[in-house]
């Protein structure tokens, strides 16, 4: 924090806001706040966040907010696009938020991370290479689809759950993978 007056005696000629004779320093909003102001800064952050999300304002019915396809994705993204993920042979399912991934590559990486423990287990048991699997999903119509065919945006708005298929079932779908 610079001292307004400055040590070279030129303090009086410095440009600043405020009446002559007062010592109000020019305050830059971006400067680091001293300890005591931490709370007010937090409050400012909170009030601006709160301002952006006033409950029930503007007064429109929620079905109206979610009525448009584009907006529907936004609304869901805000809430988290959680879908179940099952892996053939795994003892339990997982849930992921599709909204946190930017595209198919990140999704595959995320799924790899999540299920690698099962992958190893299963590959050891079956003695196979462990790498033969296909990521599929169930869409709005209930059909089983291969992940990766449609644009990402379209995928996340129609994906209801994910299924990682392994072994012989997956081989037929594997050409794209």
């Amino acid at each position: 924090m610079e001292d307004v007056k400055g040590s070279d005696g030129l303090g009086d000629t410095e440009l600043r806001l405020g009446l002559p004779g007062t010592s109000t320093a020019t305050r830059s909003a971006k400067r680091a706040l001293p300890e005591g102001d931490e709370e007010s800064h937090d409050e400012l952050r909170r009030t601006s966040a709160a301002k952006a999300q006033v409950v029930g304002w503007p007064p429109i019915r929620s079905y109206r907010k979610n009525s448009f396809p584009g907006r529907k994705v936004e609304a869901e993204a805000a809430a988290g696009l959680y879908v179940k993920v099952s892996m053939d042979g795994a003892p339990y399912l997982r849930k992921i938020d599709l909204g946190v991934y930017k595209g198919y590559k990140e999704l595959r990486e995320g799924l790899d991370n999540m299920f690698k423990c099962f992958s190893l287990e299963l590959s050891r048991r079956e003695g196979g290479s462990g790498s033969e699997y296909a990521i599929t999903y169930e869409d709005k119509d209930g059909d089983l689809m291969l992940v990766g065919d449609v644009p990402w945006e379209m995928f996340i708005s129609s994906c209801k759950r994910l299924r990682i298929m392994k072994g012989s079932e997956a081989r037929g779908l594997n050409s794209r993978h």
């Binding site: 029930g56 304002w57 019915r61 109206r64 448009f68």
Partner: protein, 582 residues
């Protein structure tokens, strides 16, 4: 009774009942019932339509007992602000208590209309089983039921005329619910399934409407593709009110011409709605019926101004128009020029949370409509800027407003030219519009506007206030004025204890008062509850920190407050976040 002379016995009961049949309004019947015991007895036996504005204002059994011959009932549950998620989801408004009492005491019930209530599938099944003559089911803004419940209604209500589902939250767990309408069901006049999320079996629907020659209103949901609309219209050319399904498809000149002729074939069409995902491609298909339209709801269609203008300019007989703000001022100017019979206008925001969207819908559009449409009496207008001058002009042009709801989307927005509060503008509205029954305020407002409202708004029945006022005086003006006020809902205003306590008696003349994020304390609520035994004072505290409400001190602030008059005493179905003070 004068000198014991039982003048009511001058005529047989049937004559008096015949006389009372000319009093359809509940208020008049209520007055007649107070004249003497004989009239009370006669009136109650001849009342067949009952409206319960607050489901907790009276015990269901008491209502059923008093009016044993009721054929049609309408009941409302949650407070209006529940529409905007201000009321906790478990607050109440359950329909079971009413449906059970009605099943017991009104076996001949034919019509049931519920609004903002929680209706379970069990309720629907009870309705389907118990009312042998059931004809009309209308559910507006309700929740708690699924398509399985609808299947029960379809299967069992042999004389069903109306199934009107308007803006409900319906769980979709029975895909083929519509197949439950038996072949013998031919009596449908209204079928509104617009709010259903799930797929609809269009072939089943085709067969259903094909055998219902009296079908006048058909509102589809967005799952019905445009191609199938053609077939449906061929089977119901007598339709008066149509809500389309999805109004978009791959452009196909053949589809367009088939759609166009199917719509043209509906010679009686007066109302159109739906239009989900509508674009400019298929809009011209409705041109042939535009001249006959009296009601047009385009509020789900993200069509831009120029297309809207082309369409609406043809609707010379339009009385009701609901549209998105994409119409912009230019579009509204065109409406003002073409739709001289317009009575009701609603303009909804296309992007309510977007910051500074370049949509040119301003006060100019509203002024243009007010100038061009002499029959306009009901307005709902979402915009981002307003001036007092514009409101003054609107007030002068439209002294016949019955409903004026203006929503300037950013709270505390002043007159953007003068930077003044909008007190003068809204004051002009209430002073000019002597028949105003409903008013919603917005923008920067001081206590002055409330002074005008309290003094001038003599017919006002419902007032909605948000982010307005300076202090207690504001609320005091309202509660000490507004002779006919029935519903008052307030959020985020600096109104405190004093005006509430000073005007406690007023609250008994109203249906209800909602206050949230104001400056009311628990102590005042306790006092009010003690003073007014005919009010339920509900304190809603969702945050649940610290002590339970009974142990909190008087100065504890109240988050949400709902006060309503009742002869039923405190209700027994309150959730944990609601306390009824006694």
């Amino acid at each position: 009774m004068v000198g014991g002379f039982r003048w009511a016995a001058m005529f047989p009961d049937e004559v008096w009942e015949h006389v009372f049949s000319f009093l359809p309004a509940d208020a008049d019947r209520n007055a007649a019932a107070l004249v003497c015991r004989a009239w009370y007895r006669l009136e109650r036996r001849s009342r067949w339509r009952v409206f319960v504005g607050n489901c907790y204002a009276v015990e269901p059994a008491a209502a059923v007992r008093r009016f044993p011959e009721v054929r049609a009932a309408a009941i409302k549950g949650k407070p209006h602000f529940a529409d905007f998620n201000l009321v906790p989801s478990d607050w109440g408004g359950g329909a079971e208590a009413w449906v059970e009492a009605m099943a017991e005491g009104w076996p001949h019930l034919e019509e049931l209309r519920l609004k903002r209530m929680v209706v379970s599938d069990d309720c629907l099944e009870l309705i389907a089983r118990c009312f042998k003559n059931f004809k009309v089911l209308s559910l507006v803004s309700c929740e708690g039921f699924s398509t399985a419940g609808l299947a029960a209604i379809a299967a069992n209500c042999r004389y069903l005329r109306e199934l009107d589902l308007h803006e409900n939250e319906v769980e979709d767990n029975c895909l083929h619910w519509m197949s439950h309408f038996p072949e013998s069901c031919t009596s449908l006049v209204t079928l509104n399934i617009a709010c259903l999320e799930g797929e609809v079996n269009v072939s089943v629907l085709e067969r259903l409407i094909g055998r219902c020659p009296n079908l006048k209103t058909l509102r589809l949901n967005h799952s019905v593709p445009l191609e199938r609309l053609v077939g449906l219209l061929h089977r119901a050319p007598q339709l008066v009110d149509l809500g389309t399904g999805k109004y978009a498809a791959q452009h196909h000149p053949e589809l367009f011409s088939r759609l166009e002729s199917a719509i043209a074939g509906c010679k009686n069409l007066k109302g159109l709605s739906g239009f989900w995902e509508a674009g400019p491609t298929f809009l011209p298909a409705i041109y042939s019926v535009c001249e006959g339209l009296t009601s047009l709801n385009l509020s789900y269609a993200t069509i831009q101004g120029p297309e809207l203008i082309k369409l609406i300019s043809r609707c010379k007989n339009l009385q009701r128009l609901w549209v998105m703000d994409l119409i912009e001022d230019e579009g509204l100017i065109a409406v003002a020029a073409s739709c001289k019979l317009l009575q009701e206008l609603r303009v909804f925001p296309s992007d309510p949370y977007g910051a500074a969207q370049p949509i040119s819908l301003t006060e100019h559009g509203l002024v243009a409509i007010s100038a061009g449409c002499p029959m306009l009496h009901s307005v709902l207008y979402f915009c981002r800027q307003m001036t007092n001058a514009a409101l003054l002009t609107v007030a002068k042009n439209c002294p016949n407003f019955t409903c004026f709801r203006l929503c300037i989307m950013e709270p505390h927005t002043p007159d953007y030219i003068t930077r003044q509060p909008l007190d003068a503008g809204f004051s002009a509205i209430v002073e000019s519009c002597k028949h105003l029954r409903r008013l919603s305020l917005s923008g920067l407002l001081t206590d002055l506007v409330f002074k005008s409202i309290g003094a001038s708004a003599n017919r006002l029945e419902m007032l909605s206030v948000a982010f307005a006022g300076d202090g207690d005086a504001g609320l005091h003006y309202i509660l000490s004025g507004c002779k006919n006020l029935r519903k008052l809902e307030i959020r985020d205003c600096p109104f405190g204890d004093k005006p509430l306590l000073d005007n406690a008696a007023k609250l008994e003349t109203m249906r209800s008062l909602w206050m949230s994020s104001c400056s009311v304390t628990l102590g005042a609520c306790r006092q009010l509850a003690r003073k007014m035994p005919l009010l339920n004072v509900e304190v809603i505290n969702e945050r649940k920190r610290g002590l339970p409400l009974e142990l909190q001190p008087d100065n504890c602030p109240v988050e949400k407050l709902y006060i309503y008059r009742t002869v039923a005493g405190p209700r027994s179905d309150t959730p944990s976040c609601v306390w009824i003070l006694r």
